[in-house]
């Protein structure tokens, strides 16, 4: 949808730098909601955020170094000390717990939110430099996305009402 078609004429950009399951939520929730509120949205995926544009997502939650993370357990909340978080299998366990909770609480999957973003014409831009740096192929990535660099982002950001870095 062209900007002129949107009644409020507002626009937002988000730089997405993180590619874990938990960090994938804020940018996709804000982008899809803003698009639903007639805001023209651009998401620029760079560094680890770029993996969120891969056709096949395999997202994990890593408890290591994530010391504020609390998981509901047996009526209380359990923190995960780093010494436990570093044990083999803990990332898999935290990921499957998080995915269970997501399903149980009626929270959308990242796949669903990403599809909603595409359907509502959110502009998805993959950082070309990161593509080269991490040796991703265009065929690994979603169809219909753009490939560009910092200047493309800046041009958009300079005329946007909201610019976020996540």
């Amino acid at each position: 949808m062209a900007e002129a078609d949107l009644p409020n004429g507002k626009s937002m950009t988000i730089i997405v730098t993180k590619g874990t399951l938990d960090w994938a939520y804020p940018p996709f929730i804000l982008a899809t909601t803003a698009a639903a509120m007639d805001v023209n949205v651009t998401m620029f995926f760079t560094f680890y955020g770029l993996s969120l544009l891969k056709k096949k997502l395999d997202l994990t939650v890593n408890p290591l170094g994530n010391t504020a993370m609390e998981m509901p357990m047996m009526g209380g909340h359990m923190k995960m000390p780093n010494i436990i978080g570093m044990l083999p299998g803990m990332t898999g366990m935290a990921t499957s717990m998080m995915k269970d909770m997501i399903k149980k609480k009626g929270v959308a999957s990242i796949e669903d939110l990403r599809e909603a973003a595409q359907l509502s014409d959110v502009n998805l831009i993959a950082c070309q430099m990161t593509m080269d740096l991490f040796e991703y192929k265009n065929t690994d990535m979603l169809d219909g996305i753009e490939y560009a660099g910092a200047a493309t982002y800046m041009e958009k950001a300079l005329t946007s009402d909201i610019n976020l870095y996540i």
Partner: protein, 75 residues
């Protein structure tokens, strides 16, 4: 009486808003959409949605744990 009903019960943020937007987009101006939701955040969120998009909140109330909104498509 609303023209269409959207059952968003059990869905969490931002799904009720996304589904409401999609439903409203398929309706003509002046038609009314009834939304049923259980997300407690949806009360504030639908008010903000309406203020920002120009769609009109006709009424909202609560029946047990279900929130009910009627929104008229304006824009």
């Amino acid at each position: 009486m609303a023209d269409e009903t959207l059952d968003a019960k059990g869905l969490n943020c931002p799904l009720p808003i996304l589904k409401a937007k999609k439903a409203l987009a398929g309706m003509d101006n002046g038609k009314q959409l009834e939304i049923l939701a259980t997300d407690p955040g949806s009360v504030k969120d639908f008010e903000a949605f309406c203020r920002t998009t120009g769609n009109k909140m006709i009424e909202h109330d609560m029946d047990g744990s279900v929130y009910r909104f009627i929104i008229e498509r304006v824009a």
